[in-house]
């Protein structure tokens, strides 16, 4: 009886799966067009899956091994089942292969079940709880029905009752694995995930055989030329179709949720829920069937949307609340952690673009900061002609005078901040000690546009960027050095798209830690022995995750004789300071502050000093109440450790202290 039933079941499930796949494809194709190499992408799926995706999954060894056994077993078992049972190929060898595959899948599913008893907070429940059982049903069912084909049992073993039970089990397994894959069951992640890998919006993220860096973190420019189009993403169908496909690939593992600083701080953001909300919007409906952690403080079931309905309405509730989008610090921890390589930050900024450019609804200080950027080229609204006031005594060489230099020192908006001025002074002391030929743009420099872009104001970003590009095109320099990772990232990764053939805008940009590291390696700097206490290092998101620079700052610290006491979350898992993405400007309230949590991480290491490499991190971490570790920029640590400088400079500084003593404040 099973001989007749099995092929019918198999092909019925496959046919339903194909129908579901077409429906799903049509859901994705509601999005805006985005050209992809269709066949080339599909051909690359195995490599992208087995190499790039596996590297990320493998950070959790338990689930990586479990997934290899289960998924590998399933793919093999499914193929063999189609051949053996579907087409009735009576081959004992293939049947034995099928048996081995189902055993592997069964063992894997045992570990899947074990992980879910009880399920950790970050995992979704609901239909996901039945997945291990479905996996077992498929593997056990397939195993049993294959025994006769392999010649272990006679074809008519058992009775019709056992055959009926087996048929039911196999139907369950097939239903979950084939039918559920394209009709929105938990197995959807396999189908959508594979196609997502094929047609990913950032194919640069995937490695190739040649090796090298494969990173793609710069936001994509918005086309501002066409004035009839609405800017940014208002409704789910405003995403590109492959973005929608990416959302659909989410496996709800919650690794993003576990890493998200805003979620941990109790701000109303959960990257996993956000992606699920996009899926809900794409298909239409409410979030009532979502079974993971909610946005902190926002109960599940109150939000819903449709493909052509607004995501964030002007008034009232729809799919997502605006404050959810504004809670993100764009730290990219979720993207780094996502085993499906979904681009959360792109989606958030796309939606922010609509809120800022079309609604004019940037919360809290957002509007003021953007107005300042438009009117004064800096977020604080300071006089742009006072950019160099902090360095009145430093006699900084100006590009306008020199026209060319080896290094263009990009100062950033930290010039207006008294704390950052100390860092800048230290950096200049270091550069001078190493005899670097550098110059600054001075009053010609403008904000890099980072904050404007993260706040969604693409127009202001492009205006600032284009003017900066024009300014820099007048001068000759071989590289840019900056102590601000945000400027570093924008100059390095986001200006390139905005250049023209007359004004190319691809620069060689160095973060000061990388540059100092080169100076140290070239033995242009000599240090005295480190006498301070223990030191930990905080990786800035825009240096580490965005640009992969984890080692240079640590090398510099090592060169100073410092042994870095690493925090539990460091390197690519470094926790954000809370200062990125305009988060301090939009300032969405939570239960605790992100920098306080980060300082808690520092405290656990017992370090007296935390070395940083970013003005934002410095400001955020120094905002934590005492007692806490001291915050020192790498440039400051290096400058303090410099061996006695050239005698000329020493004399000058002596003179300066003398004059200071000659003039005293009259207090009587």
């Amino acid at each position: 009886m099973l001989d007749i039933l099995l092929p019918i079941l198999l092909f019925a499930a496959l046919a339903l799966a194909v129908i579901g796949a077409v429906r799903r494809l049509r859901l994705w194709r509601q999005g805006r067009p985005s050209p992809v190499p269709v066949m080339k992408g599909l051909l690359q799926v195995p490599r992208r899956y087995l190499v790039d995706l596996h590297h990320i999954v493998d950070r959790d060894k338990y689930i990586s091994k479990t997934h290899v056994a289960t998924a590998g077993g399933f793919v093999l078992a499914a193929l063999m089942a189609i051949v053996v049972h579907g087409f009735g190929l009576d081959s004992a060898i293939l049947a034995w292969v099928l048996l081995a595959a189902t055993i592997s899948m069964f063992v894997g599913s045992l570990f899947v079940a074990k992980r879910r008893s009880p399920p950790p907070q970050r995992l979704s429940k609901g239909p996901w709880m039945r997945l291990p059982k479905s996996l077992m049903a498929f593997s056990v069912g397939m195993f049993m029905v294959t025994l006769p084909t392999a010649g272990i049992l006679p074809a008519d073993a058992g009775g019709w009752l056992i055959a009926l039970v087996l048929a039911a089990v196999v139907t369950w397994g097939l239903g979950e694995m084939f039918f559920g894959m394209t009709w929105g069951g938990p197995m959807k992640h396999a189908f959508a995930g594979a196609l997502h890998l094929a047609w990913h919006r950032r194919p640069e993220r995937f490695s190739d055989r040649k090796g090298g860096e494969h990173r793609s973190t710069g936001l994509k420019a918005l086309d501002l030329e066409d004035s009839s189009k609405s800017l940014g993403v208002e409704k789910p169908t405003d995403f590109t179709w492959n973005q929608l496909l990416g959302f659909d690939a989410c496996v709800q593992c919650g690794r993003c949720e576990a890493m998200c600083p805003a979620f941990a701080a109790g701000q109303p953001l959960n990257p996993k829920k956000l992606i699920q909300d996009m899926v809900i919007g794409m298909a239409g409906g409410t979030d009532g069937n979502y079974h993971g952690s909610p946005y902190p403080g926002k109960p599940v079931g109150e939000h819903g949307g449709s493909p052509n309905g607004p995501i964030v309405p002007r008034e009232g509730r729809a799919l997502v609340d605006a404050e959810t989008l504004w809670s993100c610090t764009t730290c990219r921890a979720c993207v780094e952690e996502c085993p499906m390589m979904i681009e959360h930050v792109d989606a958030i900024v796309d939606m922010r673009r609509f809120l800022t450019l079309e609604h004019g609804n940037t919360p809290n200080k957002g509007a003021e900061v953007l107005d300042n950027l438009i009117a004064t080229d800096n977020p604080g609204g300071f006089d742009p002609d006072s950019r160099l006031h902090w360095a009145a005594d430093l006699n900084l060489p100006l590009m306008a005078d020199k026209k060319e230099a080896d290094v263009l020192l990009w100062l950033g908006d930290g010039v207006f901040d008294m704390r950052n001025q100390r860092t800048l002074r230290s950096l200049i002391k270091v550069l001078r000690a190493a005899g670097v030929d550098f110059a600054v743009l001075g009053n010609e420099e403008r904000d890099s546009g980072d904050v404007a872009r993260r706040l969604g104001d693409e127009a202001t970003f492009q205006a600032l960027a284009k003017r900066n590009i024009r300014t820099m095109s007048q001068y000759r320099f071989s590289r840019i050095v900056t102590c601000d990772p945000h400027s570093f990232h924008v100059l390095k990764n986001e200006y390139g798209e905005l250049g023209t053939s007359e004004m190319p805008s691809s620069y060689e940009v160095y973060h000061h830690s990388t540059f100092i590291n080169e100076l140290v390696k070239a033995e242009q700097l000599t240090f005295k022995a480190w006498k301070g206490g223990s030191v930990t290092y905080h990786d800035p998101c825009y240096l580490g995750r965005y640009n992969g620079e984890y080692e240079a700052p640590r090398d510099v610290l090592r060169a100073l004789g410092i042994e870095v006491q690493e925090m539990a979350r460091s390197g690519y898992r470094s926790r954000c300071c809370g200062g990125g993405g305009g988060a301090p400007i939009t300032d969405i309230p939570g239960k605790q502050r992100i920098p306080d949590m980060r300082m808690g991480d520092v405290r656990e290491t017992g370090a007296d000093t935390v070395a940083v490499g970013c003005p934002q991190c410095t400001a955020m971490l120094e905002g934590v109440v005492e007692p806490r570790a001291d915050i020192k920029d790498i440039a400051e640590l290096v400058a303090d450790a410099l061996l006695a400088d050239a005698p000329a400079e020493k004399g000058a500084s002596k003179g300066a202290t003398q004059t200071e003593r000659n003039v005293e404040e009259v207090t009587s």
Binding site: S227, S228, T356, A367, L370, T376
Partner: protein, 269 residues
């Protein structure tokens, strides 16, 4: 929420807002003028009011960008009465207001560019014969052609006034701040350019205009022992010394008092 956000009875009210080109105090870049933008904000918060924006001035790219700042607040169209440089905009505005006959005209107290005398609303009121209210803080209600409004007085005081429409009201920084100007609507909004004959301001042409210089301020030496007194002295706003509040006086007595003050100050000789 400011009371004018719920201004009742504003439905069907036609409001004209006169907008000018602003100028950033530090960088002198053109932008929407702050007070005019507040006037637009106030108009936008009158539920159901039909709003029309009018600008009289030149039509060039720099000015257009500033005008688009108002469009970005969610306005579909600005009427641009094209005028030559250095022309007197009052006649053009008078004609335009007479033709469109709005019930209420809102504008900033003074412009950020040009003469910036703050006289435009008064001159318009004089020629049109309409009342003027300065320092409008909120429009509370409009009923049967009479508006109840709050007027801002110095040091946070408010005065409730009833005014028969049509009227002109000026808005200063005590009005609610203007909403953010969004790039998308600003770009899509339309400029209805109307070339009009312009009257050159003869006296303005003869003036010599130069940037204002910041005058040094005399430091006030506070001689007091306690920190509290020094803090109070530093934080206190100057009272302005003289001046008096007149209430329940006849118009003649009031005019007499104003006349006396102008004479004392040397405005009238």
């Amino acid at each position: 929420m400011p009371p004018n956000a719920e201004a009742s009875g504003a439905a069907g009210l036609s409001v004209a807002v006169l907008v000018s080109i602003g100028r950033h105090p530090l960088t002198a870049r053109t932008r929407r003028a702050d007070q005019d933008a507040r006037a637009v904000e106030m108009a936008l918060n009158m539920k159901g009011a039909a709003i029309s924006l009018v600008h009289a001035g030149q039509h060039d790219s720099d000015h257009e960008e500033a005008i688009r700042g108002y469009l970005g607040m969610g306005i579909d169209e600005v009427r641009l009465l094209e005028q030559g440089p250095q022309s007197d905009v009052v006649p053009a505005l008078t004609d335009a207001l007479r033709d469109s006959s709005p019930q209420m005209v809102l504008t900033g107290t003074r412009a950020e560019t040009g003469e910036a005398s703050g006289m435009v609303p008064y001159l318009l009121a004089e020629t049109l014969g309409w009342p003027v209210i300065n320092g409008l803080a909120a429009v509370e209600s409009v009923e049967k052609g009479v508006a109840t409004v709050l007027q801002a007085l110095p040091r946070g005081k408010r005065r409730r006034l009833r005014v028969r429409l049509p009227a002109i009201a000026t808005v200063d920084t005590s009005a609610p701040a203007a909403r953010q100007s969004a790039f998308g609507p600003a770009r899509r909004g339309e400029l209805d350019v109307q070339a009009l004959a312009s009257e050159t301001d003869e006296s303005l042409a003869q003036w010599q205009i130069q940037p204002a210089r910041k005058r040094p301020k005399r430091l006030k030496v506070i001689k007091s022992s306690s920190a509290r007194d020094r803090f109070k002295a530093a934080a206190a706003k100057s009272d302005g010394g003289g001046g008096q509040t007149l209430s329940d006086v006849t118009p003649e007595q009031g005019a007499e008092a104003i006349f006396k003050l102008l004479r004392e100050e040397g405005v009238l000789r």
